[in-house]
């Protein structure tokens, strides 16, 4: 099926070339980081994880979200999702690759990373995280490729894929749960030490991931006339709304426990995120309030059925939802976890330009993988006339 990549429009190759240029440029910045060390980032002794790990966390969620298509389609035989499913699976592949890269760029000694396998350590959550991510990557590649191949040959997918699909459904939950356990089991990091962390991660993943998928598919529809299916879009939007409601609800639960109990160490991270420190708003506070605003606005636009089916309002609402969840998980989670620091004082963190450049490079790799895989899927769909109803 790889040959499908050879027959595309010119603008597709221009897009790939653009991505390669971005990857090269950002790769050079990464080389600089390799040479000089992580001192090129804004991280420091007190805020020892930053943008890289937060992006890793966010994209584990995006990867896990493919299950929101797979589960209805295979557990509930919801046929309308069948056409879209491959895009969810391939997006999961791209997202897991981004996760792996975000971990690699965050390591101080990346050439030693195989030590994690050489000295397997069952008491470390990171060991399990590596296992589940590699497993999930493999599952999605195998399932995606095999089902697409079957579609191309107009046959049923081989029987052995079915158990893999059921495993992948459970597995999707596991990857984000294990990622939450990276944070939720650490004594002394008060913002993270909460049993609802994994549930929050999953709910935020299950609204943001499908939103990103839907937004990308709307772009693809513009570019190629591929029709994801009106009924499918409607159902997926409903899933997104429920997940976002649960996500906001879970965050409010957190707020209640923290502020009704009035335990200072639990209040401080949230106060810092929203109100800054010493009467001075920190840069992340502005972002957090924007996130709050966009979270509620997106819900206002998504909850009434006549609005969420409106073709112009839907993308706007989805963009706001993605932005809100990204700020919550991609900025607030890490900064709140490390602020105040272990001495109950505030150490500021702000990603540096070079840090952002390296992260953008990883984004570009993800976009490249996604573009390649989706192009193959789209070509196959076109060949077998599964482009629209």
């Amino acid at each position: 099926m790889l040959e499908k990549l050879l027959t595309a429009q010119k603008r597709y190759y221009v897009w790939l070339l653009f991505l390669l240029c971005v990857i090269t440029g950002c790769g050079l910045v990464y080389l600089q980081q390799l040479r000089e060390g992580l001192t090129v980032t804004g991280m420091n002794r007190d805020v020892s994880w930053g943008l890289y790990i937060s992006q890793f966390t966010y994209f584990v969620g995006v990867a896990a979200s493919a299950v929101m298509l797979v589960l209805p389609a295979y557990f509930h035989h919801y046929k309308q999702f069948k056409r879209m499913i491959i895009f969810g699976e391939f997006m999961a592949v791209a997202a897991v690759i981004m996760c792996a890269l975000f971990i690699v760029v965050d390591l101080g000694q990346p050439q030693r990373m195989l030590n994690v396998m050489l000295h397997p350590t069952p008491n470390s959550v990171m060991f399990y995280d590596m296992l589940v991510l590699i497993g999930y990557l493999g599952l999605n590649i195998v399932i995606g490729w095999t089902t697409l191949e079957a579609e191309r040959l107009d046959t049923d997918p081989p029987k052995w894929v079915n158990p893999l699909i059921y495993i992948s459904i459970i597995w999707a939950f596991s990857i984000h749960t294990v990622t939450a356990f990276l944070y939720a089991g650490i004594p002394g990091r008060h913002y993270w030490l909460t049993a609802i962390m994994a549930a929050r991660f999953l709910s935020s993943a299950f609204c943001s991931g499908p939103s990103i998928l839907l937004l990308l598919l709307l772009i693809v529809r513009r570019l190629t006339s591929f029709e994801p299916g009106g009924e499918a879009v409607k159902t997926l939007t409903t899933i997104i709304v429920y997940a976002m409601c649960v996500n906001v609800f879970f965050y409010l639960l957190e707020i209640f426990t923290v502020f009704y109990s009035q335990i200072p160490v639990h209040e401080e991270p949230i106060l810092f995120l929203f109100a800054g420190h010493d009467g001075q708003l920190s840069w992340v506070s502005y972002w957090m309030w924007v996130a709050v605003g966009m979270a509620f606005l997106s819900l206002i636009l998504l909850i009434p059925p006549q609005w969420r089916t409106n073709p112009t309002l839907l993308p706007v609402a989805l963009v706001m939802l993605v932005a809100a969840t990204w700020i919550d998980k991609g900025l607030g989670l890490l900064i709140g976890g490390f602020t105040p620091n272990m001495f109950e004082t505030v150490t500021p963190y702000m990603p540096t330009g070079r840090e952002i450049a390296v992260a953008l490079g990883v984004y570009a790799v993800g976009a490249l993988v996604l573009s390649l895989l989706w192009k193959i899927a789209l070509s196959v769909k076109k060949d077998v006339n599964a482009f629209s109803d």
């Binding site: 001192t39 000295h119 002394g188 272990m342």
Partner: protein
């Protein structure tokens, strides 16, 4: 297939699995040695069931009193002097409110509140850093010391997120340009960019019969000894004085005690 052949294959298969999966090499236990010789402790090595430290904080009048200790530690271990927040600290000072945030009250006596307290790795009995490390680059030894193997560290900094005491430092950059040349202690290695480091309770000095550098430099104001031995200095001091530890509520069981 005859019986012996089958059992041979079975054993071979199991051993191959065990070898490849690392079961044959449980952490810190004897495994097939490469070297023909034997490994033993040094004859003069100091040993204990559980090393611990007691800080007699009242004996230190000013922050300057701690300076020789910090200097002794940092030069014994070639700890670089880096400006800013990407710095390396093994032994350092902070105020009561930051060292014991759980014990703070607004009417604490002025002396206790204003004094500086030394901070270092607590060598916890139940260390979160060891729990989270994905490569066993940090580990707890039999005598309670939480040690680091810089060769194995991949620099993921999970241990820094895990340590509730901020005792760990990451080498954000090559430390050598930030050290005197030649290095203060030519018998001790430096570290490299991209690994985490921290206080080791001077395991390398205990091995040759010497107390930790800070204890040696403290004129008896830091006590060091075996917590499991009722007649040790540390146990006597703890038996006769009111002592506290940092963040006791999170169950890490620090090995550094402060007599206030």
């Amino acid at each position: 297939m005859n019986k012996s052949r089958r059992s041979f294959l079975k054993t071979a298969g199991i051993s191959a699995f065990a070898l490849s999966s690392g079961i044959a090499e449980p952490a810190n236990e004897a495994y097939a040695k490469l070297a023909p010789g034997r490994y033993t402790r040094g004859e003069t090595a100091l040993t204990a069931k559980r090393w611990a430290m007691v800080v007699l904080t009242r004996e230190f009048k000013t922050p300057q009193d701690y300076e020789p200790l910090i200097k002794a530690c940092h030069s014994a271990h070639n700890v670089p002097d880096i400006a800013g927040r990407q710095n390396i600290k093994w032994l350092w000072l902070d105020a009561y409110a930051h060292v014991f945030p759980d014990d703070m009250n607004s009417h604490l006596d002025e002396y206790t509140r204003a004094a500086s307290y030394p901070l270092l790795c607590n060598h916890c009995s139940n260390p979160p850093c060891v729990r989270v490390c994905p490569t066993q680059a940090t580990y707890k030894m039999e005598d309670g010391i939480v040690a680091m193997d810089y060769h194995r560290c991949i620099g993921c900094r999970f241990c820094m997120a895990g340590c509730p005491y901020g005792a760990r430092s990451f080498n954000f950059m090559d430390p050598r340009p930030h050290l005197a040349n030649p290095a203060p202690n030519p018998t001790f290695p430096t570290r490299m960019s991209g690994v985490v480091e921290k206080c080791t309770f001077c395991a390398e000095r205990l091995a040759v019969g010497r107390f930790p550098a800070c204890v040696e430099a403290s004129d008896g104001r830091l006590l060091f000894g075996d917590l499991e031995n009722p007649s040790s200095d540390v146990r006597k001091a703890l038996a006769n004085n009111y002592s506290i530890r940092r963040k006791p509520s999170i169950g890490t069981q620090p090995g550094v005690y402060y007599i206030i």
